[in-house]
């Protein structure tokens, strides 16, 4: 919402300057987005009279002008084709900054002739792109007068951001009322006295709204005849231009002006173009209308229209129709002053995608009493600008009831607002805002004015009082603390999730945050094909599917980084994936990818391609951060389809899969248009059991053995398909008390080992706790280990 200071002063008796108005508006909740004082840059430009214009002796295209500036008569060299004797133009003297060019004007000699100023074009003043000639002012423009005032440009423009609840402030008058309540002046009375009609309107409204009269509870019509349409007066055009509207004709300008001035949208039909009686009705299925924005809309029966015998002529509350619009030759019009259901207008506007000043006000709520007074105000203005005569009012429907009252306990202001406001002050504020109040020292009864559909409860009145009284006056109170030392804010699961991030970053991975949605192309190889997880209205096809996994975005990021010259990347994200559209379908995953090589070339540590064991280490580190005892995990070879089937695995705790890791499937990489290898992991954070509640923080007592551990090496010949993990598990199981650790230190296949077999060498650490192991005991446990491994794997001890 834009307004100018002089326009505001039509409603507000004030001496405040624009800056003070702006500061006050922001303070009371009408946020000012900007104050534009166009006059300031034009202060030095005055009306100049070209006393004489003659040919420059040394240049065909230049003229020598003698210009009377009001203060002196000086010579100016001018190149404009329209510079001529007797005209009045806009003059700038040397030293003036020219807004259109940003240059400071210098006096000079042009082709041997002195030039001591400039006659300006609109472009030079920054008013438009017009540069064909210099500005020509009216013959009666006073010589030496400031141009800005003459052009109505000395009026600062204030832009206010109106919150959706304040339909009343979508008008200059509403803003003036709030300012008056804030003490910035006095609200002037508005003249709504009836304009007597001289004839009965030949056009009468019909409301054809069976069962849905609320869509348009009331509409007032008024006919005008004998009008002279044409351009509206300069003051009106200036105001409309200042707030960003294009003047069209007196009749149209009046409707726009009243919309902005009083928040009362109006529409005028060219009466000669209407056939039959104007009717409020819902559109017929498939009915079309060419609207004033030049577009044709197809309507449906939920759209309210104003129709006549020819069909829909206007979209009710949203936009008029091209076929019934007024033109310069129009001499008779039918004025529409209607009340519409805000939801009906909002739904129509949203469906048709039309944003208009009328829609904005109707969907936020228009003063129900304005149907009558709007017809009077509009009539007064139309008659003043266009002459002619007005009919009596033709109204139909009933003004919806709006009278209601709301009580406000002064104790509630203090209880909710944290500041005590005296009853007299609270009533002064409410009265100034148009609430009629009664009451005593404890309770106020406020009668809500018809232009405040947003006021429904006591809290609303608390806000009205406090925003005018001043939020800055509310004393600052610290939050009450239950304990001096704070309590943890995170649950144990949240704390572990935070720890996973730090753990992965500590392993050299870089954390990314990527969108929750991606393209179907990226989602498909990762199982994302559920149509229920497609976005119905994506901003682009690249972002139309909820991600089934955190990996595709990370893989795509690795691809982009590689394209920028960083082929070796290690990225992770701790974030959501979506298995279905329920809250339970959203789970937290710690996922990561390593692409390219393990590092850059190094004199001592040559890089190698990333592989499944990088990903396995990452996954295990994440699980440790999540509090999982990873010693007890099993690795199975059943990772999902986007992993390389022979180079991936699942980390399981019992039956529950806690993580997947491995190299990504070449087909998935190809679908994502990325070169491999990429090692990836996904840790299912939510699958990790919550930590057991413990009594106290004490840890179990440490038990360190006083006896020397013994390490024994074994090598087994097993089938190639046997996992080393089976051997390790069997070794550990041979004596859970004595076997402290089993490490795989060599895998060998090739010469000396028959085809289809491999040799697996393990180092078993035996830790006695009672006494040092004797050779016989070591011998015995060694035999048990060999037996257990042989039984579990069918392998044989290698000689």
């Amino acid at each position: 919402m834009k307004l100018t200071l002089s326009w505001l002063e039509d409603h507000l008796d004030t001496t405040a300057k624009a800056d003070e108005v702006a500061a006050t508006l922001t303070r009371i909740g009408l946020e000012v987005e900007g104050v534009e004082d166009r006059g300031r840059a034009l202060a030095a430009f005055v009306v100049g009279h070209v006393v004489e214009a003659r040919q420059h002796p040394n240049a065909d295209r230049l003229r020598l002008c003698r210009v009377d500036t009001g203060a002196e008569t000086i010579q100016v060299v001018c190149g404009a084709p329209n510079a001529r004797t007797g005209m009045k133009g806009v003059f700038a003297k040397p030293g003036t900054r020219i807004p259109g060019t940003g240059m400071v004007l210098q006096a000079g000699i042009i082709r041997g002739e002195a030039s001591n100023g400039m006659l300006c074009s609109e472009r030079e003043l920054g008013l438009s792109d017009e540069h064909e000639g210099i500005i020509e002012l009216a013959a009666d423009a006073p010589i030496g007068a400031p141009f800005a005032r003459l052009a109505g440009l000395d009026d600062p423009v204030i832009e206010v951001s109106i919150t959706p609840n304040r339909s009343d402030c979508a008008s200059v008058r509403g803003i003036a009322r709030d300012l008056a309540a804030a003490g910035l002046g006095r609200l002037k009375p508005l003249d709504t006295t009836p304009v007597p009609g001289t004839f009965e309107s030949p056009l009468r409204w019909r409301r054809d709204l069976p069962g849905n009269g609320d869509a348009c509870p009331m509409v007032v019509g008024r006919s005008f005849r004998g009008l002279r349409n044409g351009p509206s007066p300069a003051w009106l055009q200036n105001r409309l231009r200042a707030v960003g509207l294009r003047p069209i004709s007196a009749l149209v300008d009046v409707t726009n002006y009243v919309t902005l001035d009083l928040g009362r949208p109006l529409h005028v039909f060219d009466a000669a173009k209407l056939v039959g009686q104007p009717t409020m009705r819902f559109a017929r299925p498939g009915e079309t209308i060419a609207a004033l924005d030049g577009k044709t809309y197809t309507l449906d029966p939920a759209v309210l229209v104003i129709a006549d015998d020819r069909g829909a002529r206007s979209i009710a509350g949203v936009m008029g129709g091209e076929s019934s619009k007024t033109e310069d030759a129009t001499t008779s019009v039918f004025l529409e002053v209607a009340l519409f259901d805000p939801i009906c207008v909002a739904a129509t506007g949203r469906k048709l995608g039309i944003v208009s000043d009328a829609r904005y006000r109707f969907e936020r709520g228009v003063d129900p009493t304005s149907a009558i007074w709007g017809a009077e105000v509009a009539a007064r203005m139309i008659l003043a600008l266009c002459g002619g005569e007005a009919s009596t009012l033709a109204a139909t429907g009933v003004e919806p009831g709006w009278t209601r009252s709301q009580t406000l306990r002064l104790a509630r202001i203090a209880g909710l607002g944290g500041i005590a406001v005296e009853a007299a002050e609270a009533r002064r504020i409410l009265d100034a805002l148009g609430f009629e109040t009664t009451g005593d020292a404890a309770t106020i009864t406020a009668h809500v004015p018809p232009w405040r559909p947003d006021i429904h409860g006591e809290a609303d009145l608390v806000e009205e009082v406090l925003r005018i009284h001043g939020f800055d006056k509310i004393p600052v109170v610290p939050m009450h603390r239950e304990t001096i030392v704070g309590k943890p804010a995170l649950t144990p699961v949240q704390r572990r999730t935070a720890l996973v991030r730090r753990a992965l970053a500590g392993r050299g991975m870089v954390e990314a945050v990527t969108f929750s949605f991606l393209s179907a192309r990226l989602a498909a190889p990762f199982g994302g094909t559920d149509p229920a997880l497609r976005i119905a209205n994506p901003i682009s096809a690249d972002l139309d599917t909820m991600r089934p996994s955190v990996l595709p975005n990370l893989v795509d990021a690795a691809r982009r980084n590689a394209a920028r010259g960083f082929a070796d990347s290690a990225l992770f994200e701790v974030g959501p994936q979506y298995a279905n559209d329920t809250p339970e379908g959203q789970t937290t995953i710690a996922g990561g990818v390593r692409a390219g090589a393990s590092g850059s070339r190094h004199w001592n540590a040559p890089p190698r391609p990333v592989d499944a064991f990088d990903a396995k280490a990452d996954a295990i580190a994440a699980l440790i951060a999540l509090g999982v005892a990873t010693d007890g995990l099993q690795t199975t070879t059943d990772a999902p389809a986007w992993y390389h089937p022979g180079r991936s695995g699942t980390l399981r705790q019992g039956p529950s899969a806690l993580a997947w890791f491995g190299e990504l499937h070449p087909a998935a990489l190809a679908a994502l248009d990325v070169a491999g290898p990429i090692a990836a992991f996904e840790v299912m954070v939510d699958a990790v059991p919550e930590p057991k509640a413990r009594r106290g923080a004490a840890r179990p007592l440490i038990r360190v053995s006083a006896f020397q551990p013994v390490v024994r090496d074994f090598a087994f010949l097993v089938d190639d398909a046997i996992g080393a993990g089976q051997i390790v598990r069997a070794a550990k199981g041979a004596d859970r008390k004595l076997v402290a650790d089993v490490a795989v230190f060599d895998i060998y296949a090739g010469k000396g080992v028959e085809a289809g077999k491999k040799s697996v060498a393990i180092a078993v650490t035996l830790q006695p706790s009672e006494a040092t192991l004797t050779d016989a005991e070591i011998e015995a446990i060694g035999a048990r280990i060999v037996a257990a491994i042989t039984k579990a794997t069918g392998g044989a001890l290698r000689g």
Partner: protein, 358 residues
Amino acid sequence: MQNIDQIRTELLAEIAAAATADDIERVRVAALGRKGSVTELTKTIGALAPEERRAAGALINVLKDEIAAAIEARKTAIETGALSARLARERIDVTLPARPETEGRIHPISQVVDELVGIFAEMGFAFAEGPHIETDEHNFTALNIPPEHPARQDHDTFYLPEKADGTRLLLRTHTSSVQIRSMRKAQPPIRIIVPGRTFRADHDATHSPMFHQIEGLVVDETTHMGHLKGCLIEFCRAFFDVDDLPVRFRPSFFPFTEPSAEMDIGCSREGGGLTIGKGADWLEILGCGMVHPKVLANCGIDPARYQGFAFGLGIERVAMLKYGIPDLRTFYESDLRWLRHYGFAPYDVPTIAGGLTR
């Protein structure tokens, strides 16, 4: 005993000539060993006359000590020399780079969330979460935003496909939906913060279709706007690490709070940059207000008894302001150069005790 002097001269010469540890050991054995020359000399004492024995014994002992000391000194010298030579041989080029170990980075959003949680934990808030795919009820209606309410136009909502029953789920447009979930789950007192992903169908230089908010909610019997101001002023000063940060509260409108306000903090744009603190300008930082009685009632909480405040702020926005990150869209581009530059060290966990600002 002319013999003694001769032996001394010969041995000292041999000692001086010894070049290696083996040489000196050979000399030692030849002199002081069981059959060494000095040892043999000792054996001759017995053959002497009793009155000569004492003097001869003393002379031999002096010789023995002198030779032993000379051997020891020479041995030390040889060892020192050998060590020096070995050290010289073992020299490496220490200007070579060490074996590579890359340190990762924490994304600015995660770091800032940790900072925010740290501050609000001090004020007794607990961390809460909620789903991203939400119902219209949780995201709008229960928050006092009925269908076709103009406030919905500001939200540019993403929808999922319409279901058979005509309903459609949406991506939450704000973390305020978690207010409803939390209040329906537990009776007051409630004091929670909710950081998380939010979604709006808007994509340009200053809008991203996904961004992060943090929501705060306090509901009890006594919390009023003075507490709201106290809590949020304390927060802004701690977060931006500016003790005298100017603040102001402007009346505003949110359907789910009444009264509603926006909070601005002071800043200066002098010299082209932006500095948070005392200055000529204001910067909008968050929206807040007293929880609307209808919202409380929608959640089964008696608005005649309970009240409180709620606030919401954009995490990227405060991260950009605090750490001077110029472009919102870069947060999600996963550009390694950006992440390394604006990211945070993994072990640098912000705490109140250790300071929040990095």
